[in-house]
Symmetry: C2
Subunit: 146 residues, 2 copies
DNA sequence: TACAATTAAATTGTGCACAACTTAAAGTGA
DNA sequence: TCACTTTAAGTTGTGCACAATTTAATTGTA
């Protein structure tokens, strides 16, 4: 099987591109009334999972660098969702803490995006197969980075 | 199953985001020596599949609007991969035609990205399951747009 | 035929995402 | 202790991606 010469609609790279775009759009539409973007939602999700994390820790989870994260986190701070805290004993590190407002957004956001998944109506097996396969691809590609 | 409240690593939206980012990175690394970006590769792929298409047609296939495509196609033209042709009987339409240079890039690009897939080593069943599921998700979400 | 409505692409402004580079702080070794 | 190296975040420049708007061409209607 020679993947690279297939038409676009048979190429998995494009299927990934297209589906992630559509998911991003669906999330964007649901999250916009709450005042956050989808990538911001991902940052906040990482913090909802574990609050008080450095830029690098968030970056490690999301595979985003500080070039991307710093402006985003600054905007999240300006909007009142998080605080950026530089503190001893290592002042190079900036910790990102959820505000009360940021903590309460978790449930609102969850409700906002729930409809996407109920509409998609994936059965649980399919969901987990996809999840595991995509994680496997991600891991293999990241391993290939070194 | 309440997807929206799961930690990030159990959320399919993030798995899609992460895997498509990693694929994009892998492609970017392989295509950069040939002088094109991954999104440009997708445009060219659409043209390799069918040359002489309008901006809208390319946009329909890639689900990208002219706001995104116009600057990209202009850069592809500047680099000599395509020509932009506005012609009768409808001068609103701009056709995008591959140059000879653009046509010959197809094989070079295919060779460049082949290693990604051989390294990933997906078996054919897995490949097609993923492809079909992702297309299904994309289609359902696009249908929900209306 | 004239004008309103629609269409195709282009422009403008904003938010990512990345590579390369910079700044400041911390770590290391002589 | 000090010079050098490494680390964490921040900045700069570029290329997307999208929403809103504009421009120009075409179509539809009275």
């Amino acid at each position: 099987m020679s993947i690279e010469t297939l038409p676009l609609d048979k190429q998995l790279c494009f299927a990934l591109y297209a589906s992630s775009k559509e998911i991003a759009k669906a999330y964007r539409d649901k999250l916009a009334p709450h005042g956050i973007t989808y990538p911001q939602y991902l940052i906040l999700s990482a913090l909802w999972d574990q609050d008080h994390r450095t830029v690098s820790e968030i970056g490690a989870e999301l595979q985003l660098d500080s070039g991307t994260l710093t402006p985003m986190i600054k905007r999240l701070e300006e909007a009142g969702w998080v605080l950026r805290i530089r503190q001893k004993p290592d002042e190079r590190r900036v910790y990102v803490d959820l505000t009360e407002k940021g903590k309460t957004l978790k449930d609102d956001a969850a409700c906002a995006v729930a409809e996407i998944w109920s509409d998609l109506n994936l059965n649980e097996d399919t969901y987990h197969v996809l999840l595991n396969q995509l994680h496997s691809i991600t891991a293999k590609l990241q391993k290939g980075d070194d």
